[in-house]
C-alpha cells in the first residue's frame, strides 16, 4: 500500500489509529501491538501477498537467532550465530536483489550460461534486512536483549518505516513501544504528525511526481537530448529524488508522531550542504548511521591512521552505492560519492565556516563550496538515474556536445498537468505558436519553486518552529486536498490500430 493512496488515507490509517488508541484506552496493551503488527502486515502484503511470506520468513529466522543467543555462553557460539545471521540476511538480500546482476556479470566474464531468475524484488527488503541485521549484531555483543515475539514483529513491521525507511534501530524503537505514556492520544503529536505527513505528501505528489514527467521522458531519450535539455533534466531529477525520498521520510515521521513514536530524522536540508561530506551528514542519515556503526567502525574507523580511515570511508560509500540497486550505475555513483568524500577528508580545500576536525590548507567561500557540492551531486545523479552505464555516459557526451536543438521544448511539453489546462487552452486559442514556450515557462517555474523550497526551512523545522495557527492550518489543508485529488488520473488510451 502506498501512503499516497485513497485506501491508505481514508481507510487504513483511520482504522489503524482508532484500533491502536482504542485498544490502549482499554488497557489491552499486548493486543494493541498485535493489532498494529497485523495492520502493518496488511499494509505490506496489500500489493503482493507473496511479499508477506518473505518478510515473515525473515522475521522468524532473525527472531530464532535472537532466541538462540540466550543459550550462547561462549565467544565461539556467538560467532557462529552472528555469522549465520549475517549470511542469512545478506543471502536473502543477495538472492532477491542481486542474483540476476551477479550472474549476468559472471556470464559476461566467464562465458557461463547461468539463467536469470527475474525475481520480483520484495518491497523494502533492503530496509527491513538492515534493520534486523543491526539487531542481530547487537544481540551478539549483548547490547540488545531478547524481546517477546509480538514486540519484535511490531518493531520490524511498524508500517510508517517499513517500505522506505528510515532505517530504525531497536534501541530507539522498543522503549517507545513500551512507554505507556505513548499509548495515550496526544493532541500535540497528532497535530504535528498531520502537518509533517501532509508536507511530505505534498513534496511527493505535487512536486516529485510532476518533476518526474520531464525527467522520465528525458532519460528515455538520452540519445536525442541536447546540452540544455541534458542539464535541466538532471537538475529536475536532483529535485525530484530529494522531494520523493525526503517526502516519504516526512510522511513516515508524521505517521510515527500520530502514534506517538518518534522516528529518526533521515533528511536535514541536504542541498544546503557546502561540501559532499556535509551533504552525506544530511542525506539519508539513517543509512549513513548504519554503515558507520556496522561497517566503518568495525573496519577500524579513524583509529588506524589516515590512509586506512580514507579507505574505510570509501568502502562505506561503495557499499552504499550497491545497497541502492543492482546495477553498475549504482556502483559508479557510490564510487563517485566515496571519492568526493575522501577528497573532502584529505583536508586540502576546506569551506569557510565548516568546523572540520583537521584544518584545511586552503579555504573557499561557502557559496563556492555549495556550488561545487550541488553541481557534483547533480552530475553523479546521471549514474544514479540511468538504466545503464552507456546511457549515463551518453548524458555526459550530450553536455559536452554544446548543441542546442530545441529539445528542451519537447521535454517541457511533458508537463501537461491539469493545473495548467485552462491556461493552455487560452494560449491555444489566442497564440498557439507560444504554447511550447508556455510549457517551458511551467518547467522553469517548477524548478524555481523547488529551488526556493530547498533553501528554506525543512518540514521538520516548520513543524517544530512555526506556530500552529489558522494560516498554517489552511496551508496544510490545501496541500492535503490538492495532494489527494492528484492520486487519480484520467489516462489517454491511444490504440487506433485496433
Amino acid at each position: 500500500m502506498l501512503f499516497n493512496s485513497y485506501l491508505f488515507i481514508f481507510i487504513f490509517l483511520p482504522l489503524a489509529l482508532i484500533g491502536w488508541y482504542g485498544m490502549n484506552h482499554f488497557k489491552a496493551y499486548e493486543l494493541s501491538k498485535l493489532f498494529l503488527a497485523a495492520m502493518s502486515l496488511w499494509f505490506y502484503g496489500y500489493f503482493n501477498p507473496y511479499y508477506l511470506a518473505v518478510i515473515l520468513v525473515s522475521i522468524a529466522c532473525n527472531y530464532l537467532l535472537s532466541f538462540l543467543f540466550q543459550f550462547s555462553h561462549t565467544k565461539w557460539m556467538d560467532r557462529v550465530f552472528l555469522l549465520t545471521g549475517i549470511l542469512f540476511n545478506l543471502g536473502l538480500l543477495f538472492y532477491f536483489k542481486y542474483y540476476d546482476f551477479f550472474f549476468e556479470n559472471v556470464n559476461a566474464l566467464f562465458g557461463t550460461g547461468f539463467t536469470m531468475k527475474n525475481i520480483v524484488l520484495p518491497l523494502g527488503i533492503s530496509f527491513f534486512t538492515f534493520q534486523q541485521l543491526s539487531f542481530i549484531i547487537d544481540r551478539c555483543t549483548r547490547k540488545a536483549k531478547h524481546y517477546s515475539f509480538i514486540n519484535y514483529v511490531t518493531f520490524v513491521t511498524f508500517f510508517p518505516q517499513l517500505i522506505a525507511g528510515p532505517i530504525v534501530l531497536y534501541k530507539e524503537m522498543m522503549p517507545q513501544f513500551e512507554d505507556l505514556q505513548n499509548r495515550k492520544f496526544q493532541t500535540e503529536n497528532f497535530a504535528k504528525g498531520i502537518a509533517l505527513f501532509t508536507i511530505g505528501l505534498g513534496k511527493k505528489v505535487l512536486l516529485a511526481d510532476v518533476l518526474a514527467l520531464p525527467v522520465n521522458y528525458g532519460f528515455e531519450q538520452t540519445a536525442f537530448l541536447d546540452t540544455p535539455s541534458t542539464l535541466l533534466v538532471i537538475l529536475a531529477y536532483t529535485f525530484e529524488i530529494y522531494f520523493d525520498f525526503s517526502g516519504y521520510s516526512d510522511m513516515a515521521m508524521g505517521l510515527g508522531k500520530m502514534f506517538n513514536i518518534e522516528l529518526p530524522v533521515n533528511f536535514n536540508s541536504p542541498y544546503k550542504a557546502c561540501s559532499v561530506k556535509e551533504l552525506w551528514q544530511r542525506w539519508h542519515i539513517t543509512l549513513s548511521r548504519f554503515f558507520i556503526q556496522y561497517v566503518y567502525i568495525p573496519l577500524g574507523g579513524s583509529r588506524k591512521g589516515k590512509g586506512r580511515t580514507l579507505f574505510n570511508i570509501f568502502i562505506v560509500f561503495f557499499l552504499s552505492g550497491i545497497w541502492h540497486g543492482a546495477n553498475w550505475t549504482y556502483v559508479a555513483w557510490g564510487t563517485m560519492q566515496g571519492l568526493l568524500v575522501v577528497w573532502d577528508n584529505l583536508g586540502i580545500i576546506g569551506v569557510r565556516g565548516n568546523h572540520d576536525k583537521t584544518p584545511a590548507k586552503f579555504y573557499i567561500p561557502r557559496w563556492l563550496g555549495w556550488f561545487f557540492t550541488f553541481s557534483f551531486f547533480n552530475l553523479s545523479l546521471y549514474f544514479f538515474r540511468s538504466d545503464s552505464m552507456t546511457n549515463a555516459f551518453q548524458m555526459f557526451r550530450n553536455i559536452f556536445a554544446f548543441k542546442n536543438t530545441g529539445y528542451l521544448l519537447k521535454i517541457a511539453a511533458k508537463l501537461d498537468i491539469p493545473e495548467f489546462y485552462l491556461i493552455k487552452q487560452a494560449i491555444n486559442f489566442t497564440m498557439p505558436d507560444l504554447l511550447p514556450y508556455a510549457y517551458l515557462g511551467v518547467f522553469f517555474l517548477l524548478l524555481l519553486i523547488s529551488a526556493i523550497i530547498i533553501t528554506r526551512k525543512n518540514a521538520l523545522q516548520i513543524v517544530s518552529e512555526h506556530p500552529f495557527n489558522t494560516r498554517l492550518c489552511l496551508y496544510v489543508s490545501i496541500i492535503f486536498v490538492w495532494s489527494v485529488i492528484s492520486f487519480s488520473q484520467v489516462s489517454t488510451f491511444i490504440y487506433f490500430n485496433f
Partner: protein
C-alpha cells in the same frame, strides 16, 4: 504553544479539509462529466470524447432506444444519421478493437437500462478471433466506473484531471464550442485520409506464410459467435443490424502474407450462416465493395476509413443495400475470395514501390 492550540489546529484541519473535499465531490457529482450518475445538466451538452470513461455511464443514464456498437471504425458515425434514417434515438457503445465480449458487455448494460429497438453492430473480422473474455481490466480501463461499487468512485470524485480538465472542457464545449452531440467519440477531425497515410503506415513483411487451414480459429470463432448470438436470442424484440466494415485492400494483402485469408473467409462464412438463422438479424457486408477498399484515398491506415465511408455505410443500412441474405451469402464469400486473390496478384502491384518492407521479418 499550549494544548488548545493543537486541538484548535486539529479541529480546523478537519473542518477545512472536509469542506474542500466535499466541494470537490459535490462539483464532480453535479457536473458528472463521465455521466456516472445522471444525464447532462440542463443547458449542458453530452460531450463524449473519452470512451473508456464515458461509455458505461452514458449507457446507464442517457435516454435512447438504439445502440451503435463497434470498434474505433464505428466512432466516426454521426448518431443523427441513424436517428433520422431509422426514426430512433441512438447512442454509441464503442470499444477499441471491438472484441465481441467487450461489445456485448456494453450491450448488456444498455439492455439493462433501456428497451432497444435497434442494435447497429459493427462486426470486425478480427472480433471473431478475439479473446472471449472482456479486456477492460487487462487494458487498464478505470474499473471503478464499470462496477456498481460507489466506494471506489472516490477515484472519480477526487480527481484533479476531472476537476481541472474534464469539467471545464464539458462546460466550454457546451456553452462556447460548437460540439455536435451526434459526433460522440469522433476522431476523424484530427486525421488525414489518403494513400500517403495508409502506405506510409503499412510495413509489409516480405515473406509469405503458409496458408492456415480454414478451421484454424474454430474454437475462438465458436465462442465469439455464442457470445453474440446469446444477446440476439435474449432480445427477440430488438432488431440487430450487423454489418462488416470495409477494410482496405492493404489489410487483405497483410492477411494473405500472414496466411490467414482462408481462415478469415471461413470465419465470415460461418458467422453469416449462424447470424442469418435469426429472424431479428439483418446482415450487411461492405467488405467486398471493390470501389471502397481498392481506393486507398479513403483510408488513414489499413483499416480506418474516412467518415464519408461511415456515412455511405449508414445510407446503405437505411436503403437496404449491401445486404447479405441466405440466398447470396455463399456467392458473396466467393466474390471476396476472388477479390482477395486479385488484390495480391494484381491490384496491389502499382503501390509496391511506395510500400515499406519489414526488414526485421524472419
Amino acid at each position: 504553544m499550549d494544548k488548545n492550540t493543537f486541538k484548535g489546529f486539529l479541529k480546523k484541519f478537519i473542518i477545512f479539509s472536509a469542506a474542500l473535499l466535499l466541494i470537490c465531490i459535490f462539483t464532480v457529482i453535479l457536473f458528472d462529466p463521465f455521466f456516472q450518475y445522471h444525464k447532462p445538466l440542463p443547458g449542458l451538452k453530452a460531450v463524449l470524447t473519452d470512451k473508456e470513461y464515458q461509455c458505461v455511464g452514458s449507457l446507464k443514464n442517457f435516454d435512447y432506444d438504439s445502440v451503435i456498437a463497434g470498434s474505433s471504425v464505428a466512432e466516426n458515425y454521426n448518431n443523427g444519421w441513424f436517428d433520422q434514417g431509422f426514426q430512433c434515438r441512438s447512442i454509441k457503445a464503442i470499444r477499441s478493437y471491438g472484441a465481441t465480449a467487450d461489445l456485448c458487455y456494453l450491450l448488456d448494460i444498455a439492455f439493462e437500462h433501456q428497451e432497444l429497438k435497434y442494435v447497429f453492430y459493427n462486426l470486425d473480422p478480427s472480433a471473431l478471433v478475439a479473446s472471449p473474455e472482456t479486456t477492460y481490466k487487462l487494458t487498464g480501463c478505470p474499473m471503478y466506473l464499470y462496477d456498481d461499487n460507489y466506494l471506489n468512485d472516490v477515484q472519480y470524485w477526487l480527481n484533479k484531471d476531472v476537476l481541472f480538465e474534464k469539467i471545464p472542457y464539458l462546460i466550454a464545449q457546451s456553452l462556447i464550442g460548437d460540439y455536435d452531440e451526434g459526433n460522440s467519440y469522433n476522431w476523424a477531425q484530427w486525421k488525414n485520409f489518403n494513400s500517403d497515410m495508409i502506405l506510409g503506415l503499412y510495413i509489409r513483411k516480405p515473406s509469405i506464410d503458409e496458408m492456415k487451414p480454414e478451421t484454424y480459429y474454430q474454437d475462438l470463432l465458436s465462442q465469439n459467435l455464442e457470445i453474440l448470438t446469446a444477446r440476439i436470442k435474449e432480445h427477440p424484440e430488438t432488431q440487430f443490424l450487423i454489418f462488416v466494415p470495409p477494410y482496405s485492400m492493404i489489410w487483405w494483402d497483410n492477411l494473405y502474407r500472414d496466411g490467414d485469408t482462408d481462415a478469415y473467409l471461413y470465419n465470415m462464412q460461418t458467422a453469416y450462416e449462424t447470424l442469418l438463422s435469426y429472424e431479428n438479424v439483418t446482415l450487411y457486408s461492405f467488405q467486398n465493395d471493390r470501389e471502397i477498399i481498392t481506393n486507398l484515398e479513403n483510408y488513414m491506415d489499413t483499416l480506418h476509413f474516412s467518415p464519408e465511408i461511415n456515412h455511405l455505410m449508414c445510407d446503405s443500412l437505411i436503403e437496404g443495400t449491401h445486404r447479405i441474405t441466405r440466398e447470396n451469402y455463399l456467392s458473396e464469400i466467393e466474390d471476396m475470395r476472388s477479390l482477395a486473390d486479385e488484390i495480391v496478384t494484381t491490384l496491389i502491384k502499382p503501390y509496391e514501390d511506395r510500400i515499406k518492407v519489414d526488414i526485421y521479418d524472419e
